[in-house]
């Protein structure tokens, strides 16, 4: 029972993750200017990836692969944390010039 429960949970998480991703891409497409799109790019995608990573981690046969997938998610958090402000900084410079 517990195995099927984990599979269902993973399926739910992966479903949620893909939905959030779809939402994020829709947001990037629809939002008017660069700064709003940054939100979609950083926050929503990170959430989507987090859910996806957790879902996949559950599915892995041995736990070490699960840890690897979660570290991927943590690394992505760092890189999007730096890229977001950098892009914003550049956008401000571009507007002022």
């Amino acid at each position: 029972m517990t195995a099927s429960f984990f599979i269902w949970l993973a399926a739910l998480l992966i479903g949620l993750g893909t939905a959030v991703f779809a939402l994020g891409t829709l947001a990037i497409w629809r939002l008017p200017d660069c700064y709003c799109r940054l939100h979609a790019l950083t926050k929503i995608d990170n959430l989507g990836l987090g859910l996806l990573a957790l879902g996949l981690a559950l599915l892995q046969p041995d736990w070490i692969d699960g840890v690897k997938i979660v570290t991927i998610w943590l690394l992505l958090l760092c890189s999007s944390a730096t890229t977001g402000p950098l892009i914003a900084q550049r956008a401000i410079e571009e507007q002022t010039r």
């Binding site: 690394l75 760092c78 890189s79 944390a81 730096t82 402000p85 950098l86 900084q89």
Partner: protein, 319 residues
Amino acid sequence: MSWMLIDLTLCISLLILAVAALYARGLQQRVVFFIAFGLLCAIAWARLNAPDLALAEAAIGAGLTGALLLSALNDETDPQPPLTQPRLGRLLTTAITALLTLALCAAVVTLFPLHEGIAIQQLQQQMPHAGVVHPVTAVLLNFRAWDTLLELAVLLCAALTVLNLAPARPVTAHDSPLTGMLTRILLPLLTVTAGYLLWTGAHAPGGAFQAGAVLAAATVVLRLNNNPGFTHLRVGALRALLALGLLLFLGVGLLQTVLGGAFLQYPPSTAGFLILLIEAGAMLSIACMLSLVYLGGHLHPHWPCHAPSNGVDTWKRHS
């Protein structure tokens, strides 16, 4: 059946990205599409059971080449003025390439199903004596070692020319606290993964090239906050580092012929160790060459001689 769907979507998106990368309006858009195409291609390698290639494609194909192209974006690139082909010329070339592609597709279709080649059968028989477990590394560094040796020479040639062409360009400084934090996190991780990749190369996907590429990525990250990384060495040390990989390869190869046996033939007992030794040397050289190719040679304007005692190196002037 489900795999068919995934393959089709992957291939179609690959084609769309390729067209976008070739025919988008601005150069910047083309470069971004090209990087996306590279990453998608890495997924395609993974799908086709080629993990080594996925690693290499992501690190070198999309990563480093993408960084290279991005850094080259700000050199104003005038279209080749002299070679403006007449309309007829351009039409002719596109017609010929279209014809060649059609012939290629027709030939490819007739190829499948493939029958088992002699090379693979011999490979399976010889694998136990290869000294490493992972077949790709065995092919790279044992069965077809001469290819890899020459490939190191190709890389050396590119790096030397980049150094020869070094314009004395000042290093643009654009570091900010954010990138400082990112490098502090990424740098140790990259070096550790590089070492891990080098070590696992013997029995799992990995090896000198992927490790070298990861180290080169470390230089790219360092370059973000304006530190030239380990390429900023004395000219003598840089020369040694560049030559290390090829020197080891040739040295080990020649050693075997001196002890009897063919060139590049490793005795079964010490094959594993020798391959690891060569891979370590190759990793350092590849990392140095790839980062030089990315950085450009302006850190060593007086290459290959030492900087004149009076002249101060350009880097010190700016920090």
